[in-house]
Symmetry: C2
Amino acid sequence: MEKLQKIDYYKKLGLKITPQRLAILEYLENNREHPSAEDIYNALKERFPSMSFATVYNTLEVLMEKGLIKEIGIDSSKKRFDPVVHPHHHFICRKCGHILDVEKDFDIIIPQELSECKILDFQVVFSGLCPECKED
Amino acid sequence: MEKLQKIDYYKKLGLKITPQRLAILEYLENNREHPSAEDIYNALKERFPSMSFATVYNTLEVLMEKGLIKEIGIDSSKKRFDPVVHPHHHFICRKCGHILDVEKDFDIIIPQELSECKILDFQVVFSGLCPECKED
DNA sequence: CTAATTGCAAAAATTTTGCAGGACT
DNA sequence: AGTCCTGCAAAATTTTTGCAATTAG
């Protein structure tokens, strides 16, 4: 999407566009590492030396409310965020913590035991060793 | 398993059996709520008023090394632990955080894009609203 | 102009660590 | 007896919050 179109799009969602927010959005969009709040903070503090964690967390929360990003509960040591909100799956390396996207579709039948629940989503999480770590 | 047999079993794994460890193991075995370290601490501090978090975390780590429990990375706000170590799946309620076990077997074909990885495990995580929360 | 956002600093929540004394085998 | 474990307290990590100053619309 063109940059101006994007800003319009965000505005239509009711987001106030600040330079910090744009930078966070842009960082997320160009990053497939599923960054944590700290990753984002570190990546942007050069361009915005005065930016605080409050802004990062605040922005992440607003972006989640608007459905532009998702929190992925895979890395139990910290929250990580994903700008790819369509249903997809993940692989996490047990050694280095690297998370890879898995775009394949799986044919999952909702099991009987969850018939009383309202299922909104599911994801498959693979775990093991990534190509780099399996060599060591 | 009989209590004495269990103690023998733990000893054979090289675990030193202390009253605190036995209590933590027992608590985990009889609890299908996927408790956090704090849940365990709170549940046991009546019986062991002097017990500290260090002991809870230390014990959890030892139990994980021995393969008696697993850490489940589903609730991104805190680590939660599962004494059911055979492969199985989960449902988490987006509202109350309740985690349910899903014992069904899913036929998952390891996708092409992970062929370079060593896959050790996978789990399906459903999310939505549990029977109680979907009424509100 | 008004309401929302930022930055700061303090606090809360969760997890980890060092170490002295105590318990298990 | 020797090693491992416990408990305490302090520290490290991650996330949240209150508030005054600033900025976007």
